[in-house]
Amino acid sequence: MSLPIAGTVGPSAYWYLTRATGTVALILLTLSVVLGVIDVQRYTTPRAPRFVVDGMHRTASLLAVVFLIAHILTAALDSFASIPLIDAVLPFAGSYRPLWLGLGAVSFDLLLAIVVTSLLRRRLGYRAWRLTHWLAYGSWPVALLHGLGTGSDVKTSWMLAISGGCLALVLTSICVRVVDGWPSRPPARAAALAAAVCFAGGLALWLPSGPLGSHWAKRSGTPPSLLAPSRRSSG
């Protein structure tokens, strides 16, 4: 793993923390999706009745939010790349890898909508809550793309393993639901399956020439002042 040699400031603890909390958040969000599917599929065991699965799903989601807040704060505090706090909710307006960072903001916005509507469920009513909750199927892939596009560890084997594992879990969850007959209308089911497969396929096709390819830092929009002077690629 090569360290970026940029300017006179070395990588701070914040930089490591933001990457770590981001990774943990991705794992927690994956867990939340998996638990959510277990919940809605009504898979229970005597030791894990429905209300337990439901509680774990909620806990994983809230923990993910906590780690995301830490992820955002540490990213903003780090002086390596100037990432203002507003970039966490306002997508594509920043200077550091605007597209890929912006996807993180999009994912976070969607997640906030889901969490807030869930906390205010009683007041908003069942239908509003249910419709908003489906945004989860949008928030997760966008979060993964954000991680792959901005993550400086994306080329490492452990990061690839985590990303791949999380993707496999979410794909499996979607397949479980589709096989069980969700969404209820066959065209929607086919579309859901197609979307999942296309996403995974597209990812596989894009990764080698994208984040795993050369000069990704430059291509993804890192401000030139932060790029390593040597033409060796930074992670």
Binding site: R50, D54, R122, Y126
Partner: protein
């Protein structure tokens, strides 16, 4: 004299048979052959009230509610 009692009430159209209510209040709720709740109609005594409230809050579709009813006795 009027006695205010608390009773469980179900909106049967909203109920989808998730069954969390029966998990959280087995003293008063059991499930039928298809996973839909069978409610014991007795009023909820104070010692069960917290559990009943938790069961009502756990219902994903808000089908279960805890209602305050007035009953006249004597």
């Amino acid at each position: 004299m009027t006695i205010a009692t608390k009773r469980l009430s179900i909106n049967w159209i909203a109920c989808e048979g998730h069954g969390m209510c029966a998990e959280l209040l087995p003293e008063r709720i059991t499930l039928d052959d298809w996973g839909y709740p069978i409610i014991d109609d007795q009023p909820i005594p104070p010692e069960l009230e917290a559990h009943a409230r938790r069961a009502a809050n756990a219902c994903p579709t808000f089908a279960l509610t805890l209602q305050r009813t007035q009953a006249r006795r004597g």
